[in-house]
Symmetry: C2
Subunit: 150 residues, 2 copies
DNA sequence: TTTCGGAGTTCCTTGAAGAGACTCAGGAAC
DNA sequence: GTTCCTGAGTCTCTTCAAGGAACTCCGAAA
């Protein structure tokens, strides 16, 4: 974990990084998304230190990204994405698009997304919520918002 | 920096994290995007250690996200986003959408995006590149792709 | 010839990540 | 009833990255 507290910055990127910017956190979310809901599963899949996994899971639960559900009379728990966590996975889907395009190499993408609405394997295109046209980094101006720092 | 090498995993999230997953990297990209192109500017804006900033800038240049341009006869350099880096900012734009929604609080979003095409302040909606309908985490199935691990 | 300012580099301290052993609770086996 | 097993953590120790601050280097201006 970085020592600097990103959560206090007047920047939604920094604040989001405060929640999922620590090493392993996005991969934990990925694992939970694809159905690896238990401590042992995630630990073995990622090869992450048990101590760090405990810290990450607690942090993500505290920030409302994951929820902890008992699944047995014994003290056993599963982790599941909350609505907030599922929306965070949208960020990871765009990240996958970038990685697929620039880092996949000759082998091609490791995973594919099939879109329910059209049934086709596809990828995410960022569009404008207002007009529906593509909305990339080169298509916008950045303005100060109401929550801007003094 | 995490000791574990994410770049070797068969996962576009992990590979992307290998490029921009280290602490500060996304904020460096944000600063460069909004026109803070010089070492001193970024260092003062973020309050980042000079040593770490040097490491991050070198890493991002190595991975083709930033390019280094001389701007004087003296050994002075500016950093600019490459096309690859600009596409990476798309990921940050989606991240901003999540942070604005879940972490901005009463003050509202710190920055706003005005879309060139429609002229309105807006936000990113992830859609399917094939059919144009919304494409969120709940709208897809995940399938193994050609580059999946053995 | 000295001064200045941008862009790093070096060094030391602190603290997070990695690895692996240990604990704890409840159920199953004997 | 005692022992074993298993999932889910905790503890401890070592190593290496982040923070902070001083130092260097280089060309230009005074």
């Amino acid at each position: 974990m970085q020592r600097t507290n990103f959560g206090d910055m007047a920047c939604s990127i920094a604040r989001t990084l405060d929640v999922v910017g620590e090493p392993w956190s996005p991969l934990v979310i990925r694992d939970v998304y694809v159905g690896m809901n238990r401590f042992e599963q995630i630990q073995q899949d990622l090869g992450i230190s048990r101590k760090v996994l405990t810290e990450r899971l607690n942090h993500l639960v505290e920030h409302g990204v994951l929820e902890r559900r008992p699944y047995d009379n014994r003290p056993r728990f599963e982790y599941h994405l909350t609505p907030r966590g599922l929306e965070l996975f949208d960020v990871l889907m765009v990240m996958v698009g970038w990685g697929d395009k620039w880092l996949a190499g000759d082998a091609g993408p490791p995973v594919l997304y099939r879109h329910h609405a059209c049934g086709e394997v596809s990828r995410v295109e960022p569009t404008c919520a207002n007009c529906g046209e593509p909305m990339h980094a080169t298509d916008i101006d950045v303005l100060p918002g109401p929550g801007a720092a003094a």
